[in-house]
């Protein structure tokens, strides 16, 4: 059982960010959400200590400035960050994106359209996941 989990939400679309916030609220998850609009901001927040452990990163791939895959490479090559658990949350079904993401050791790859109206499956999944899985 984890203490308060900090979820770093890397997502450039404001409405998608809000959808995640809503699904957390509806599922009554008391995780703290830290918003980042792109990979550059996400890395800055992580390195600035704004994402305390235990933590989980929800990562969109198609981002301005620094894409999700590029940001993942930075995370995996930084000894202080490399152990972060990352779940990809994207619209892309491209096999290349899936392969590239898993090559960077993501814990899961989710396509938004598969998560039901208002991403409600994401809420249920994260509820069970953070309860069942020990996070670093």
């Amino acid at each position: 059982m984890n203490e308060t989990v900090h979820v770093l939400l890397v997502e450039d679309n404001e409405i998608d960010r809000e959808a995640v916030h809503r699904v957390f609220r509806r599922q009554q998850l008391d995780h703290a959400i830290v918003d980042a609009k792109d990979g550059v901001e996400a890395l800055r927040l992580m390195r600035g200590g704004h994402v305390p452990r235990p933590s989980l990163i929800l990562l969109d791939l198609n981002l301005p400035r620094l894409s999700g895959i590029e940001m993942l490479r930075h995370v995996r090559s930084d000894p202080a960050l490399q152990s972060h658990v990352v779940l990809v949350l994207t619209t892309s079904r491209s096999p290349k994106d899936v392969a590239d993401a898993y090559a960077q050791n993501v814990a899961g790859y989710m396509v938004k359209a598969d998560l039901g109206p208002g991403l409600h499956l994401l809420g249920e999944f994260l509820d069970k996941y953070t309860r069942a899985v020990e996070l670093p």
Partner: protein, 514 residues
Amino acid sequence: MPGRERGIDTESLRKYAEVLERHREELNAELTATAMEIPQLAAVVAAMDPADRAAATERSWHRTRRALVDGDWTEYLAGVDQEGETYARLGISLDTWFGLLADYRRALLPRIMALPRMEALAALDGENIFHEIAMARLSQAYLAAKEREVRKAETEREMFAELVRRSSLGVAIYEWTASPDLGSFRLIRANPAATRLSPGVEARLGTTFADTQPELLQTEIPARIAAVLRGGEPQDWTQVDAERRTWKCHTFALADRVAAVLFEDITADLEMEQLLKVRLTQLERSNRELDAFAYVASHDLKAPLQDIRNLAAWIREDAGTQLPPDTLRHLDLLADRVQRMERLLDDLLDYSRVGRMFEAPGEFQLDAALAGVVAYLRPPPGFTVLLDGPSQTIFTPRTPFEKVLRNLIGNAVKHHDRSSGTIRVSAHPNGEHLSITVSDDGPGIPAEYQERVFQMFQTLRPKDEMEGSGVGLTIVKKTVEWLGGRVDLASVGRGTHVTFTWPLTMATDPERAA
């Protein structure tokens, strides 16, 4: 010559025939020996099979006997005509031929003179008559054959001259007057095309390069003509002149020291080819850009739609109980329009993918594909989809094929005006193609709309009454035409029949088959 034959002393001729018959072997040997001294004849005789030679001699004796003994000259004269033609063709002169006969006669005469006096006189008479007839006929046949030959050669010469006159290729003929001087090629003939292509050619007739075209000595032309006249292979090359026109040239030897140069101006062809190449590249680029645009546009347009759908759902979730009924209805309409736009964008995406996203071809049965399409469409109860006639085996990318069927059958069901109906699908091979017809018993399409239904975004009923983006038939048409087929629609009164053709088999690369 029937007139002459009438006064002939048949008794003398018969006597003469007896002499010939008696001395046949020796006379024959004499005739052959004399003939062998004429080279052309010797070659012909040497080439003959001994059996053929014997048969020819036998035929000749037979003809002579028929004339001299039976008085029937037809075969003999026909034989002489044929011989005359042969001699003329071999180029043996009439004099030589008469010489041959005179030698033969010299061998014959002593044999006649050795006979008793009265018989000898009669045989001599017969010999004289026979010889006269033979000589007269021979010269006639020979001259006629020669004349025919000359006429034929003349006709051929005229034919070839006309060919050169009419040719669109420029033809110039040069004689090398002072080899090895490259300036000494003299223009001796030029056809009208040469005059048209290269004005001034007529004035240069009879002059040499050095006289009137010294500038040509700086080009490769004289060297190439010299090369073919020295026994080289014919030469092909292109030449750009001072006015930047490009010439395609070909030269070959015509006779000793005479060469022909064929030439044409290919400047316009080259320019056209270049232009086509540029246009093709532009077209390919703009097609690629259009595809990319349609793809990106529909992708990127869908994201904000998703947002709008979310926002509408949240408004209802957060404030549903406080909203007046009209506002709730407006929210429903909003969701409905979002859905319509999403479908439109999906169809556009499909359209942009036609031909780009075809998978590798596979073999399948038409009835199996049809069953799959019906299972996907799930037509309402009351509607039946039937395969009329035998199934067919197809080797093709399956997805685009099923998409075409799905669109046509889907349309037939969707636009049906009754609660029940039958859609019939039939297929028959037509050469390399399969011709497939989808027929329904729906309301039909009035003639004035039949063209329009294939245009993008055209629907015949308001979108609020009938869901549909108006892209389906456009996709059908683009797909079928991409594969080299065609779509035809027929509707008179009730019922619509759409026929499309589809290649029965195709290369593994559908781009190439297209």
